[in-house]
Amino acid sequence: MSQASQASPASQTRDSSSLTSAWWQQLQAHQANSQPSPLDEFRHAALDALDGAGRLPGRKDEHWKYFSLQALETLQPELNLPLNALVTEQQPSLLANTQACRLALRMGARLSPAALQPACLPAGLRLLGLEEAVREEPLSVVIRELLAREQLQGAGRVFQAMNTAALGTPLDNTMVVHVAQGVDAGRLQLDWLPAQADAADATVWLENARLIIVLEPGARLQLLESFSPAESGQERPPAILNQVTQVQLSENALFDHLRVQMAGVNQHLFLTGQVYQGTGSEFRYTGFELGGGLVRNELLCRLDGSAARSDLAAAFIGKGESCVDHHVLVDHVAPACTSAQNFRGVLGDRSRGVFNGKALIRPGADGSSVRQSNANLLLSDLAEMNTKPELEIYADEVEASHGATVGQLDEAALFYLQSRGLGEDDARRILTGAFCRAIGARLADRKLVEQIEVLLDAAMPALAELGEEAA
């Protein structure tokens, strides 16, 4: 056992919060009871990285300057997830009629083994628990490599370190998705539902979830992931989802990830995505962050094989006091790869947005092509956007463009709509919606596009009040 994991709660660092203390105590309890597991080395590395209870990143940490965790510090969350036998129950999803093999997952509940065997799974697509997957060769090699590549040191990595420290314990909720060589697995849909509706239950859930996705050469998968809001009119205790998604794409594999999130204001999402791409592989990410209180989405794409493509786009909406933060790093290691980042934000009320997008073109990644764009609309004087697109180029013959804008609605367009009879509020709503719809337009499936447009409209900040503020 490592030194760090022997630390008692009494020896916690001075600035640890009640949130990290609660994590630590529960991790400790499981550490003491756990049986030896092939995942121990990763768990111990994470505990070492946490060095005691760990510290939540603050304003002094470069990448957390504009993302305050203060609202979470005093929470005392429960990490022990009860096993959920009902995960496949038919619940309405944000995305309907998708022709997908669908799993419904309740936040604050652990996947039951039965849930991993839905009848709809096509041949060549398998869902496995982590313990099962790491005992299977050669899949375990890929998984161990993914886990070994995690960067867990430093306050900025505390969420991922906490997640990894829980691996293989009942505090962990990991699902491995495997698509066999050459198989087009079609669509898999994961619907995250809010924690069980029980008025008397005031449990603050902190869920460590992890998706490990392995696509063998030439395999294809489309993942639709949705986060539903709590049913309207229900006051929920806060919930935190700490989700890590690790993806290994072998040569010529294609992974298309659509994420639509309309979490409630009390739901806080910490997402870490790490995608490693082999030669000729393609990763498409289309995200819609339309709700949530604190939403942090960190995405790393590492282009390890030549001629790989990474195409990332997201629309995000901030309202109330919410904060939506995208930290994106596309790491061009191999030559002749292509990447695109296209992020659009609409911020109303007192909300805050952050975009920190970086493309790193390493020596030898010659002939890379990089596009990067972040455009934002501020709908209120009190909303704030911090944007920082970065390019670092150390290779030759690189084609690169980047840019960021923060602005208001185009007055000429507004007048044009009004001159046709649309009221100012409607005109503003239409233009704001259109700004985000540009992201949805890239989806090939017309039915999905239409559903997303409805969700976008529903998620828009209240414009009537904003109009007054702007006046």
Partner: protein, 262 residues
């Protein structure tokens, strides 16, 4: 239909309209010509209610009502339409969606029932046919990637669908080749009717070969400096605006039925 009396308007602190009078009756087509900077587009924008156009004096009565008190959308809903000199591109807003939202907003304002998609599509198809526009225009974003001619035709198409009582066409001929010009003009001619007034703002007489106006007015230095029949446009084309400035105005008596320029 429209009575403009002693209209003074400023743009960015600079007085552009300096006592303009104009009277337009239902069923009439008036052409307003004039050199660059005379205030032609300002007139269109003041009528439509654009921000930044400050009326300092005078009045604009539309169907007996003070038009200047109304918001741009209220004007549109009451039947005022401006075909833009530079139609605005609006990426992400589908042309059909936009036009149906606009038409239904106008119908709601007037207490008329909303059109559902089927009813709307039927109406749209009729109008497309009149204007010889292919329906692929319907599926595109408003004006996005349209050629100059397509944009102008889209303006007239919107006019056809919305069916205004008063339409102001602001340099609808600019940037059009001869074929496109003829097509746009033909569309406008089909929209002439007894209960509709049209004001055509243009630089050149060539549009008026196709849309023959009942009255022609010359706008110079912020006011109507001359008025006449369709033949005035031809004389202007031959002799230029300087001819007017040198006293040519006296040769053109104001036509009966128009108080403009009196």
């Amino acid at each position: 239909m429209l009575e403009i009396k002693n209209l003074h308007a400023k743009v960015g602190g600079k007085e552009i309209l300096k006592g303009l009078d104009l009277s337009v009756k239902a069923g009439e087509v008036h052409a307003i010509m004039g050199p660059n900077g005379a205030g032609k587009s300002t007139l269109g924008n003041v009528i439509a209610g654009r921000d930044g156009y400050e009326v300092t004096q005078g009045e604009v009565l539309y169907k007996g009502q003070n038009l200047l008190e109304l918001s741009p959308e209220e004007r549109a809903c009451s039947g005022v339409f401006l075909a833009f000199q530079y139609p605005v591109e609006i990426p992400g807003v589908n042309n059909t969606y936009f036009l149906r939202a606009a038409l239904n907003a106008q119908r709601k304002f007037r207490g008329e029932p909303q059109l559902d998609s089927m009813q709307f599509l039927k109406l749209v198809r009729e109008k497309l046919e009149i204007l010889h526009i292919s329906d692929d225009l319907l599926h595109r974003a408003v004006n996005e990637g349209f050629s100059g001619g397509e944009k102008k035709r889209n303006e007239i198409f919107q006019m056809a669908v919305l069916g205004p009582s008063l339409a102001v066409l602001d340099e609808t001929d600019s940037g059009l080749d001869i074929d496109a010009l003829r097509m746009v003009a033909e569309g406008v001619n089909r929209l002439r009717s007894e209960d509709r007034a049209i004001i055509v703002i243009t630089h050149y007489q060539r549009l008026l070969d196709h849309i023959v106006p009942d009255f022609v007015h010359v706008l110079a230095d912020g006011r109507i400096s001359a008025s006449g029949g369709a033949d005035l446009a031809i004389k202007l084309e031959e002799r230029g605006y300087t001819w007017l400035a040198q006293g040519g105005i006296a040769a053109v008596p104001a036509p009966a039925g128009s108080r403009a320029g009196a």
